[in-house]
Symmetry: D3
Subunit: 252 residues, 6 copies
Amino acid sequence: MKDVKIENMDWVSYKEITESGDCKIILPVGAIEQHGPHMSLNPDVLIPSYISEQVAKKGNKMLVAPAISYGYKSQVKSGGGNFFPGTTCVSGSSLEQYVYDVLLAYVNHGNREFILVNGHFENSVYLCEAADKLVNHCELRGMKVKVYLLSYWDFISDDTISKVFPDGFTGWAIEHGGVLETSIMLKIHPELVDMTKAVDVEPATFPPYDVFPSDPSWIAPSGTLSSPVKATAEKGKLILDECIEGIVKHLN
Amino acid sequence: MKDVKIENMDWVSYKEITESGDCKIILPVGAIEQHGPHMSLNPDVLIPSYISEQVAKKGNKMLVAPAISYGYKSQVKSGGGNFFPGTTCVSGSSLEQYVYDVLLAYVNHGNREFILVNGHFENSVYLCEAADKLVNHCELRGMKVKVYLLSYWDFISDDTISKVFPDGFTGWAIEHGGVLETSIMLKIHPELVDMTKAVDVEPATFPPYDVFPSDPSWIAPSGTLSSPVKATAEKGKLILDECIEGIVKHLN
Amino acid sequence: MKDVKIENMDWVSYKEITESGDCKIILPVGAIEQHGPHMSLNPDVLIPSYISEQVAKKGNKMLVAPAISYGYKSQVKSGGGNFFPGTTCVSGSSLEQYVYDVLLAYVNHGNREFILVNGHFENSVYLCEAADKLVNHCELRGMKVKVYLLSYWDFISDDTISKVFPDGFTGWAIEHGGVLETSIMLKIHPELVDMTKAVDVEPATFPPYDVFPSDPSWIAPSGTLSSPVKATAEKGKLILDECIEGIVKHLN
Amino acid sequence: MKDVKIENMDWVSYKEITESGDCKIILPVGAIEQHGPHMSLNPDVLIPSYISEQVAKKGNKMLVAPAISYGYKSQVKSGGGNFFPGTTCVSGSSLEQYVYDVLLAYVNHGNREFILVNGHFENSVYLCEAADKLVNHCELRGMKVKVYLLSYWDFISDDTISKVFPDGFTGWAIEHGGVLETSIMLKIHPELVDMTKAVDVEPATFPPYDVFPSDPSWIAPSGTLSSPVKATAEKGKLILDECIEGIVKHLN
Amino acid sequence: MKDVKIENMDWVSYKEITESGDCKIILPVGAIEQHGPHMSLNPDVLIPSYISEQVAKKGNKMLVAPAISYGYKSQVKSGGGNFFPGTTCVSGSSLEQYVYDVLLAYVNHGNREFILVNGHFENSVYLCEAADKLVNHCELRGMKVKVYLLSYWDFISDDTISKVFPDGFTGWAIEHGGVLETSIMLKIHPELVDMTKAVDVEPATFPPYDVFPSDPSWIAPSGTLSSPVKATAEKGKLILDECIEGIVKHLN
Amino acid sequence: MKDVKIENMDWVSYKEITESGDCKIILPVGAIEQHGPHMSLNPDVLIPSYISEQVAKKGNKMLVAPAISYGYKSQVKSGGGNFFPGTTCVSGSSLEQYVYDVLLAYVNHGNREFILVNGHFENSVYLCEAADKLVNHCELRGMKVKVYLLSYWDFISDDTISKVFPDGFTGWAIEHGGVLETSIMLKIHPELVDMTKAVDVEPATFPPYDVFPSDPSWIAPSGTLSSPVKATAEKGKLILDECIEGIVKHLN
């Protein structure tokens, strides 16, 4: 099967594919963040990377750029908070600048369309800002650049949700380290999941505000916002198939 | 009734209230953003300002700081997008720096607790970043500072929602310029709402991704994401009462 | 009388007025700063806001943007210094960036002429820098933008000064919280002035240099640089009339 | 006579003088800016450098650091404007950062007192900001740092002014390239002044506002704001003697 | 053999290893940059990553952090220049900020020693700056942090060089994409090298200055600065063994 | 002989020379840095300044801009490190911004070609970045700007080296404060060298990595990386003649 990862190409091959200017560059953006004691620190990198590659393989003239591994600070209500050992995050301005510069470099190669595949909720606004600044800068230079920004979970249907959560869905907001992410990891990187360590936590509930510095007592000691114990590789496949198909359908 | 607005005090009176260091400073943060042809550009400033004042009046040793009027860029799916005439937004780094500096100035007066009352969804992450940096900086200086960050709508209960939307709620995401904000404005600033200009749009639906530059065709020509026609001052009062009471209960 | 405040318009009305591109946008920029025990913290915001509105009402196609409330750090010799409780200031770069972004947003609506009405001496250079960067950026985009920058007190004539200070004028430099500002506030916001608290200080004198950190002993304990006791609303009217008329004459 | 210029010392000698921590470091800050057809581009550097050296020679434990040559943008009403060939200016943030870093480096050598001798009016606020940030940063590190900031002309008395301008003084604001600066240069660098090229312009008058982009027609074609023709080296000596003596008296 | 990659650990395991505070965190920093038509774009990432893992496996309490893939701009004389398709570089300030933030996050987990393993010459100074700022910031917080910075090629001895280049060494400066890097890649990632595409270029010679914009004619069309044709996996093993052993010896 | 220093010209003369747009502006960039107990702190400023003037005098339409005195942080292996008293350095971003702004100002006068003559090794990358950003910014404005960047020592031939070091050359890397720089200073500024204080140190040797914070024990107490005792003015002349001639030949 064709290799879609830019980093594995030599520059002449890359040039031949991209010089027509109609190639879409997919950039996975993730985070290094705790996802409970049962899972590695990199699901937010590995999942969008996997999806990006599958999309590129099914899509038409799409290439995958090396992923951005370190993302914006984990927030308590979406990622458990920025105080867990292993959660390794950068400031918003650093992320924004770094992503902006990377996209601009690909623009300078002649590329004009980009798909940012986000795997870490907290990154979203900074990716918006990077994309917005890129588009404005390129317009100044007389270039029409288009950036699509997506979070893979937005392509999951209610139907799939009801299959993945037959006992009821406790909501997107607290899926951090729960059934969804764990199932996907079980499918694509089972060696990085140890279900014997999965902790069966109650779904997290939070007060209707945030507080800084964060209050660690808001979070279960295991770090997940809901229980991963019902995760399976089959559920992971179901989710991935729908996301990949959906992204290809919308953005090819 | 007591005046809680810092800007209206002379400095000696302000000093007397705050020098014990146990006063809570409330900072409303909003945006200048279109909210449909039936409403002024400033609901995102006026609503959190009003709520802040009411909370301060009911609360214990709370003061309201002058509001930050210009907020982060309106996004298509939450505010209609940053291309409408009248939508007047700043970059994320400008907002973050400005808010950070303002909070730091209040810290330098001896204050240690802050409540950011947000009226514009898109501001949220930049307010997190400003709060996080402030807390870290103050820790370096040996000061324990606490920042609460809230968006007033997070204090609205399902019960109130069912009363405000007896025909069914189409979701928070598309409430921009709809029944919620319009009702509140009818209650607190009826002179800035003209219901004869309200456009009865269908609830907005969006593809599961964003695109830059934004595509204006995703948005109804009127600019609201749902219809404001069923807004009433009574509904506004219901919402406000619950928000104000909830904030006081949680943060007093 | 016509409403000239942008924030109170709906976006369609705003668009109709501005889309021809020949509207002048007036942006008041002030500060939250102590002005003695007899006056609120916001004269530097309220005075330029009032003047802006009057100018816009008399002028031709002029609108007033929401004011920037927090300004650059109060300096000892012009504002008493940045150490009084209540004096709430931001860094120069934050002010510059924030004002730049706000002006750019109005440019993006199609506006090309701006009048910055400054109410706080210390803001001046940062407003210059914001204006200069805006003009250069817009030139890059092929837009001719013009920014007028004024401090209202520069429109006061020697004749008015001799009427306002029949016993002799002690100089512009030490007018902070003195007869000039107090008189204007007595005219436009008497509810925010309490002349019974006015302290009759000697005109401030300073060494011919500045020092950092500031030395509070250089300033009278009341915070004003000259005495406000001879302020009257009549003097305020005299000053305002001349400033408003002068600005309209020069910039309409 | 003793050499007070840091750059001319070897590091061991510099260390011996400064290691007690009670040395005052004088930093001249100027600009490269047109001063009329009769004078070189560097009076704003050479004058504060000369004064700094004389002050250091008369003072107690004072050293002169290498001058900062490029200053903030020339403004029309004080320096003729930033559009003359030869006027070579940097942005405010660049100046502020550069000066801040230089001062911090001297702090790291153990120095705690600084005198900024400014030769270019437009630099003032950015020097304030650099000094303020330095003081705050050092306080965080437990160091008490003191920065004096002065512009040499603030040490000139009315008495001297009446001797230098026997026919009447047209005001500080328009002294750019006029009798004051030219006289000083005739005294300290006669080789850089050619009085045969001096243009006898009328004192500049300006409208009570600024405009961006600047309007070159506001300025005499020669670039000075008042006439230099009555400048003499004797007047220069008079001014310098008073400035040097005054600075020594106040800051030794 | 033990897994030393932080990203593959769950947070509890990571915490157990690092909480004593005596663990060394190794951060590989590379670049996405053309290395000739015979090799992929990622040797500058893969080589330091491989070395880092081997060092960590032989060392005592060392862990490898996820690599930074995108590095500072390729310069003509060391990397062929920033204009080849596929060479995808960020600005210096972005790299510096991003690396700084990543290191700071690891400090916040309790780590105090870091080894930056650089694979791209141009990164060096920005890594110095990030390290210097980190050390200073941590000192402010009362933490003693130590950062080692190395480029793997500095551990290669003259003896190895003479074995790798039996016909004579043309110098470090032009090893970009030549025998050294190609040999290492043949050893660790033979699937990313295709020696049939290797171009036998003459060693590059350059004028004794740089020019901006870069002049592509200074570089061989293939992009390498010397010929890779004599590269072998055996040479790669020789080099790697010495680098890994050397780093372990010096920094364990 | 003609004066080539811009700062000594009046603006009209400068305009006449530069308005054709084909003048080359030479900007010397140095550092204030210890160079042993036998030499002043400014060789890195004085040497490139001298060379720049000589090049300009021999060249065709070349002018010399006022030098940038303060450079990037001294590194242990090239300049002894940033901890010696007298070594007075700025951060990389400050240097980059300041140089960028200075070059841009000269561009705004109509100049299009620049030669940066660097006298301090550590400055190099930040000068690259400033030049690269300048070129890109000017391209946006439709201007073709060219920046040459050179370090004078790159123009010294092996032949000269063998004459200057008849007993063998210990390498460029450790020439800081050694025979090369001392010889040049003996030629151009003998009053700033005192050979009786020269310390005869062994050539420095370093481990193959850097460490932060720097370890002062890596450096000889005198601060030079090799011995200056065999320096002579004659050797200085030999070196300068070759550098000046070489630069003229390549860049005239």
